[in-house]
Structure formats: structure tokens, C-alpha cells
């Protein structure tokens, strides 16, 4: 038996009980979520809000315990101190690392996926779903295991490991936030794919722990042992600095563009229209089929007009005037009324809309006083439709689109004529919310983003009706999103269903909602009004 095998066997013995409990906990919780009553009930929101908290808590706990187990693995043969048993045994550091990584991969990364596999199979996941969910679980598991190992590399005791774990977690979160804040500029400046936005977060999750684990293991006496804590502190301090710097830049740009007082420039009308893909750079790489927006603004009489983002992040576009940057909000709010109106007025490739502006009070900016500005919010809804799938209106009907599976879990007839029908739509989405684990050729059904509601267009025998999805969010467990959606249908088209006719149901995506926050220098004429 080789040295590595001997260490692996020893560590498997060590972790057999705690890891077994941990795996059983994960598989059990997954089963619990899947079997929980209320999943297909009349009020799926209750299921989500009731169970979703547990899903998050248990999911986080599973990852945390995974990190602790990884740390236990390292602390079993500690790298710090002089009294470790292995230090005077014929065990090379490289072999020790190889053995530890082997055990971690087997027990803490692959085993949880295998434990979930049974549940996934029980839930009738497709091969693609399982592959994507497994890949995602492996990626996340690897990240947490690396963090746990890195924390233990810097520690001698469990208490120190916990402290290091918290410190590393905070550092990673800081880097992730900083990265997200910086990302839009990268996309615009370098025309890079949107996925680059997540690079700092991924760097933080994987590279930072690796930068700790590898040298500590492979150097007998790391030359920078003292420098590591210092570097961690510095990085931790820099992370919020990135955010602050980004905020300052936004404010600075706004103040600069506002120009000297006395301008009579203003934004009075914004026209919106959809454009074919490819005319302007895509918002994010995987959104290329999504419609894009163009903004036409009347040129200001003097100075420059400015459209500011409602949120901190967005994508800079230039349209109409070359000096006019337009920011698209990444956390939009949806106006049902606007959506309906847009749908009604839909034309291939063009929708127009106007925006009444309202006045904001004088505000003091970060870099000094800003002139009063006009401000408005337009809720934009793109209306390009694409068919996602077809299914008969009967329970358990479903279809697969890309890496998604949609199932009509229940059809609830109205208690009395004239009341809306309700469909409970179960959707399993084998991709991450941010689309960062998309499998080539398997697009997400809904291109879901956090905090965003989804809208569907339901077409029955050629008649279009807009459906509001009352509960448009799901919860993620076992690395697969399972959501329950309640579609409120207008009652009139459903008469045929009551006669027992199987009606063809067509679900179409209405697209992502967008908001644009508009602001500009206050026109003198408006300023003088009472």
C-alpha cells in the first residue's frame, strides 16, 4: 500500500462517522423538502415561504459543516506546530496534500452528489438535469471544501479554524461584492462576456483558498507565513474600498455631466423600441436572444443631459445623442399596467412609449451640491415572444425545454362560474439563478434572475391572454430549482376545459422587465415655476 493510500484509509476512518451523518443529513433534508406537504397545495407561496427558509438554512449549514469537515481533515495532520505525528514520519508534504485532496474530493465533494442522486432519480430528473445539478453541486462543494482547508491551514485548533473560516468568508464576500460592483464597466470597456462579472467572486471562492493551501502544504517553512495574515487583512480592507470607489465614480460622473448652473437642457420624451439582437452589445452573453432597447432623447438646449441608473449597476449604452449614456437597471420592477399596454401595442420590432418627467428636489451629492434634476422611471418590458413548449391542460402534463422541465402539477377548477382557474405549475430548472452553470445547448427556460418576477403569455387555441404568475419564485435545493407557480387565468377561455376538452396550452416567455431611471439638469423654465 502506498503512503497516499495509507493516509487516505486513515482519514476515511476518521471521517466515516461525521461525514456519514453529514451525508445522511443532506439526503434527508432533500427528501424532506421534496415530500413536504403543501408543495402542490392551493397556496404554493406558503410552501415557499414556510420551507424556503429551511432550505436556505439547511443548505448553508450543509456547506458550513462541509467546510468544517474539510478543516478537520487538515487539522488531523496539522501543518502548524512541531508536535504533529506525521512530521517525523516518512510522509512527504506533496503526498500528504494529495491524500487530503483525495479524501476531500471523495467524501466531501462527490459523496454528497451521490447522496442526492437517489433523490434526483426519485424526482424523475432527466440525465441532463442531473448532470447540470451534479456539476453545480460539485463546483459549490469544491469551493466550500477549499475554504475549509484554507482556514485549517492557518489554524492549530478548532477555535482558530472557526475564526479563520469567518475571516475568509467575509473576505470572499467582500471580493464578490466588489467584483459585482465593478463588472458593468468591464463589460462595456472591454466588450467582454457578461460572465466576466463574476470573475472576482470566483477568484475569491477558489483561487484565494488555493493560494493559501498550496504554499502551506508544499513549503516546509512558508517564507510568507507572516505575510499571509497581513495580506488577508489588506484584501479585506480593499474589498469595501472597491465598492466605495465605484460609488464615487458614479456620483462624480453625474456631477460632472450636470454642468454649470443655468443650463436649459432637459429630457422630455423618451422613445423606446425593441431592436433586433446584435445591433447593440448584449446585456450579458447568455441574453443575446433578449430584445434590446434604444433611447431617443431630445438634445438639450445647452450642456449635456444625463440618464442615471436607478441602481448601482447597469450597462452603459449610447443612443440618440453620442453624449448620452443610458443606464439599465439590473434590479427592475415590473409594472403590470405597462406590460399589458406594451403587449397590446406590440409591433414586430418596435414599441414606443413616453415618459412624463417629475421634478426632484435639490440634492447634495457626494462630491458637492448637485443641481436639482428631473427624474423619471420607465418600466420597460420587452415583448419578443418565443415558444417554450406545449402541453395539454391536464395534471401531470409537461414538457422539457433545454435544461428545464415544466409540469402542470394541478389544475384547480373555479368554485363557481366566472372565477379564475388556477394552474399549479411545477418548474425544475437545472441551472443557477445567474446562469453561471449553463450547459452549452441547454438554455434556461426562464433566464431567471433574483428579485424578478416572470410573466407568461398563455395562448389557447390562438387566443392570447396575459397571465400573471402570482408566485414566480422557487427555491433551490439539491442544486436544482424547484418552484411552484400559480398562474391566474382569465375565466372565459376555460369553458371548453369544463366540457372535458383537452386544450392545447402554449407557454411563451414575455421577457425580462427593465427599468430606466432618468435624470437631467433642471430646465430653467421649470425651475421658475411655483
Amino acid at each position: 500500500m502506498s503512503v497516499i493510500a495509507a493516509i487516505v484509509r486513515k482519514d476515511l476512518r476518521l471521517l466515516s462517522i461525521p461525514a456519514g451523518v453529514w451525508l445522511a443529513f443532506q439526503a434527508g433534508s432533500l427528501l424532506w423538502f421534496a415530500q413536504a406537504p403543501g408543495f402542490l397545495s392551493d397556496d404554493p407561496g406558503a410552501w415557499r415561504y414556510g420551507l424556503g427558509v429551511w432550505v436556505q438554512l439547511i443548505g448553508s449549514a450543509a456547506y458550513l459543516f462541509g467546510a468544517l469537515l474539510a478543516g478537520l481533515l487538515v487539522l488531523e495532520d496539522p501543518l502548524r506546530g512541531t508536535d504533529a505525528f506525521w512530521r517525523t514520519r516518512p510522509i512527504a508534504r506533496g503526498r500528504l496534500l494529495a491524500a487530503k485532496v483525495g479524501v476531500a474530493v471523495l467524501l466531501l465533494v462527490f459523496a454528497p452528489v451521490l447522496a442526492r442522486l437517489a433523490v434526483w432519480i426519485g424526482l424523475d430528473f432527466s440525465g441532463t438535469e442531473m448532470a447540470v445539478a451534479g456539476a453545480r453541486a460539485l463546483a459549490h462543494g469544491t469551493g466550500f471544501v477549499l475554504v475549509g482547508m484554507a482556514a485549517a491551514c492557518l489554524s492549530r485548533t478548532l477555535a482558530q479554524q472557526l475564526f479563520a473560516l469567518v475571516a475568509l468568508g467575509a473576505l470572499q464576500a467582500g471580493l464578490g461584492v466588489a467584483g459585482a460592483a465593478l463588472a458593468p464597466d468591464w463589460s462595456v470597456l472591454f466588450k467582454a462576456p457578461g460572465a466576466l462579472r463574476d470573475l472576482p467572486a470566483w477568484t475569491a471562492l477558489y483561487l484565494l483558498p488555493l493560494a493559501i493551501v498550496l504554499p502551506v502544504y508544499l513549503q516546509r517553512r512558508p517564507a510568507f507565513a507572516w505575510a499571509l495574515p497581513v495580506a488577508l487583512v489588506l484584501l479585506g480592507l480593499l474589498a469595501p474600498g472597491f465598492v466605495a470607489a465605484t460609488s464615487l465614480r458614479w456620483v462624480g460622473q453625474a456631477a460632472h455631466a450636470a454642468g454649470a448652473s443655468g443650463n436649459t437642457a432637459g429630457v422630455e420624451l423618451i422613445r423606446l423600441r425593441t431592436l433586433p439582437s446584435g445591433v447593440v452589445p448584449p446585456l450579458r452573453a447568455w441574453e443575446s436572444p433578449a430584445p434590446h432597447l434604444e433611447v431617443a432623447v431630445r438634445q438639450p438646449d445647452a450642456g449635456r443631459a444625463l440618464l442615471r441608473p436607478a441602481g448601482g449597476a447597469g450597462v452603459v449604452r449610447r443612443a440618440g445623442s453620442p453624449d448620452l449614456p443610458v443606464m439599465l437597471d439590473r434590479a427592475p420592477r415590473v409594472s403590470d399596467e405597462l406590460l399589458l399596454a406594451l403587449l397590446e401595442r406590440q409591433r414586430p420590432g418596435r414599441v414606443e412609449w413616453s415618459l412624463p418627467l417629475r421634478r426632484l428636489g435639490d440634492a447634495s451629492g457626494f462630491l458637492g451640491a448637485e443641481p436639482a434634476a428631473w427624474s423619471g422611471r420607465i418600466d420597460l418590458e420587452t415583448v419578443r415572444l418565443r415558444e417554450l413548449g406545449r402541453m395539454p391542460v391536464q395534471p401531470d402534463a409537461g414538457f422539457v425545454a433545454g435544461s428545464n422541465r415544466v409540469r402542470l402539477a394541478a389544475v384547480q377548477s373555479p368554485d363557481q362560474p366566472g372565477r379564475p382557474f388556477r394552474l399549479v405549475l411545477e418548474e425544475r430548472e437545472a441551472v443557477a439563478h445567474d446562469g453561471d452553470y449553463l450547459v452549452p445547448g441547454h438554455r434556461a427556460l426562464l433566464d431567471r434572475r433574483p428579485y424578478k418576477l416572470d410573466f407568461f403569455l398563455l395562448e389557447i387555441e390562438g387566443t392570447r391572454h396575459v397571465l400573471q404568475v402570482e408566485d414566480g419564485e422557487g427555491v433551490t435545493f439539491g442544486s436544482v430549482l424547484v418552484g411552484s407557480r400559480r398562474l391566474v387565468l382569465p375565466d372565459r377561455p376555460w369553458a371548453e376545459l369544463e366540457r372535458g376538452v383537452v386544450v392545447k396550452l402554449r407557454l411563451e416567455r414575455v421577457g425580462a422587465a427593465r427599468s430606466v431611471h432618468v435624470a437631467g439638469p433642471l430646465p430653467r423654465s421649470e425651475e421658475e415655476k411655483p
Binding site: 508536535d83 512530521r87 517525523t88 516518512p90 512527504a92 503526498r95 517553512r221
Partner: protein, 301 residues
């Protein structure tokens, strides 16, 4: 051929010098007792030899390799047992041996079985459930069964009862004698070491104050009692340790005893009427040297 050679080996912790310019040679096949009171630098010295601690300056050769380059290959030839070493307490004795066995190509299962019987170690018992003595025996077994060329024992007798000590020493003696191993054992328990060692090195405040073969050491140290010393002796001389005088009686420890010639010289130097000379144990020699060094330390401080 030396199993261990150190050249000006020094280790400092901040301003404190734990070991100062240590020059030591341990011939292959010898058993060296590294003696000294607590804090003398014994453990630090052994940790430097085992590449657990880096020397601040100087160097050490262990089995012909620079101690800072000791690795997998060398540790397969070295056994190390320390009172501070943390054994995996969750393992049983049998599991510990299962783990160690594949690490050593020279592991001798017959010797393992023999030592297991001799030490009366229960293979199914977890290490954390063992007494301290049994734990040290388990550590020793895991370091003897592959017949190391060099066995390093750091304070192995601390806290052991006499029966366990005897088992331990017998185990080391019998096993080491069969293969001509080099053994380095650090201890402040001289009586036990006396049975083991054929060489003695004594550390005092990080400095080597003595390094000699045991037989030679015991041959040159004597407890001396003088009768009929008629005058006070303010400076009894460099080879006289622990001079005490009460009336006409005086006693001291002679560090360079050379038989009747020395006795005659003392009669003449101190004007004594009678000289009684008694051999000393290692413990007595150690105590005399330690006491003699203390005033120097105080002066140095």
C-alpha cells in the same frame, strides 16, 4: 562515522537563546544521553535535529543529510518518540500500526508482534483511552518495529511509573542492541538513562557543558572527603566542584580523578590528613555539575 554531527548549532526565540553554538558528535551505534535540567535546550536541540525547528545559525548533519533537508527517505530510517508528540487519539493501537506499516519498507511484523506482547498493549484499545505509560509504549512500538538506524527519544520517561520505565528501557535496549542502532535520548531522569547510555552530553542554559563517554565520565569523577584540613581554603582549584568545609572536615567532587596520584596531590594542596574517595553515579555527577553551573548562570544574568 557519526550518525549526528552539529556545528555551532544555535536557535534563538526572540532575544532568548535556547541553544547556543552546540558542537556535538554522536558516533553511529552509540547511545547518547542528552541531559540537562528543564529549559536547558534538550528538546529544542532534538527538534532541530528532526527538522521540526529551523536553526537560527549553524548546521546539523543527521545520517549524513543536512537536518534542514530531512525528508521522506531519511525519516524512514529514523524513529522519534517525544512526550509532546500528539498521537491520533481516535485510533486504536491496531489502527495506528496499520497506518504506520505501509510507511516503512523495513517494517518487521515479527518484531511488531513481539513488542506488542512485551509491552502488553491492547490492539483494540483507542489511544486516547490508554494511560500515559501505555501511550508512550505504543509510540515506541510504532518507532521500533521498522528497525530505525537512528532512534531519538525526547523525555520518554516523564510521568512513567517504574515498572513501565523498566519495560520501556528494556524494549529499547534489547531492540537497539540487535541492530547496532544509534540512540539519542534526552532526559532529566539520569538514573534511568544511566542504564542506557554509553555517552553523555549535558546541556546547561543552552550550552554544552559536558560531552563524554559514560565510562570515562564515571572514571574521572569522585566524591572526596578530606580529614584534618587545618586551614580555610578560599580557592580549592578548577577541578574541584562543590567545595564544603566544616572545621577540619572538607568534601568536594573531583572532576579529574586520576587515582592515587590525585589523592596525594590533594593531601599536599589542602594539608589534609586523610582522603576518602568514593565513585559517583551519573546522577550525582549531573547534580554536582548542575550546582556548579548555577552560580555562573546567576553571574551571567
Amino acid at each position: 562515522m557519526n550518525a549526528i554531527t552539529t556545528r555551532d548549532l544555535t536557535r534563538s526565540y526572540g532575544k532568548m537563546e535556547a541553544v547556543h553554538a552546540l558542537n556535538l558528535e554522536v558516533p553511529t551505534g552509540s547511545v547518547l544521553a542528552l541531559l540537562g535540567p528543564n529549559g536547558a535546550g534538550k528538546t529544542t536541540t532534538l527538534k532541530m535535529l528532526m527538522n521540526l525547528v529551523a536553526p537560527t545559525s549553524g548546521s546539523a548533519q543527521v545520517l549524513g543529510v543536512d537536518s534542514r533537508r530531512l525528508g521522506e527517505r531519511e525519516f524512514a530510517r529514523i524513529g522519534y518518540v517525544s512526550e509532546n508528540q500528539k498521537l491520533p487519539g481516535w485510533m486504536t493501537v491496531g489502527q495506528l500500526l496499520d497506518f504506520c506499516r505501509p510507511l516503512y519498507p523495513t517494517w518487521d511484523r515479527a518484531l511488531e508482534a513481539s513488542l506488542l506482547r512485551r509491552f502488553e498493549l491492547p490492539p483494540g484499545r483507542r489511544l486516547r483511552q490508554l494511560s500515559r505509560g501505555m501511550l508512550m509504549k505504543a509510540a515506541l512500538l510504532s518507532s521500533l518495529a521498522y528497525r530505525p538506524e537512528l532512534l531519538v527519544l525526547d523525555e520518554p520517561f516523564s510521568g512513567l511509573d517504574p515498572v513501565v520505565r523498566d519495560d520501556f528501557i528494556q524494549g529499547v535496549l534489547e531492540t537497539a542492541s540487535t541492530g547496532g542502532w544509534t540512540v539519542v535520548v534526552s532526559s532529566h531522569d539520569i538514573e534511568e538513562v544511566e542504564r542506557l547510555a554509553d555517552r553523555v552530553a549535558m546541556l546547561e542554559a543552552g550550552r554544552l557543558v559536558l560531552h563524554e563517554e559514560t565510562t570515562s565520565l564515571q572514571a574521572r569523577f569522585r566524591r572526596v572527603e578530606l580529614a584534618g584540613v587545618l586551614r580555610p581554603v578560599p580557592d580549592p582549584g578548577p577541578d574541584v566542584l562543590g567545595w564544603e568545609q566544616a572545621g577540619t572536615m572538607a568534601r568536594f567532587v573531583a572532576a579529574r580523578y586520576a587515582g592515587p596520584a590525585s589523592e596525594q596531590a590533594w593531601r599536599e594542596r589542602f594539608g589534609a590528613g586523610g582522603v576518602t574517595v568514593a565513585p559517583m553515579s551519573l546522577r550525582e555527577i549531573f547534580m554536582a555539575l548542575a550546582r556548579a553551573a548555577r552560580p555562573d548562570r546567576r553571574e551571567a544574568a
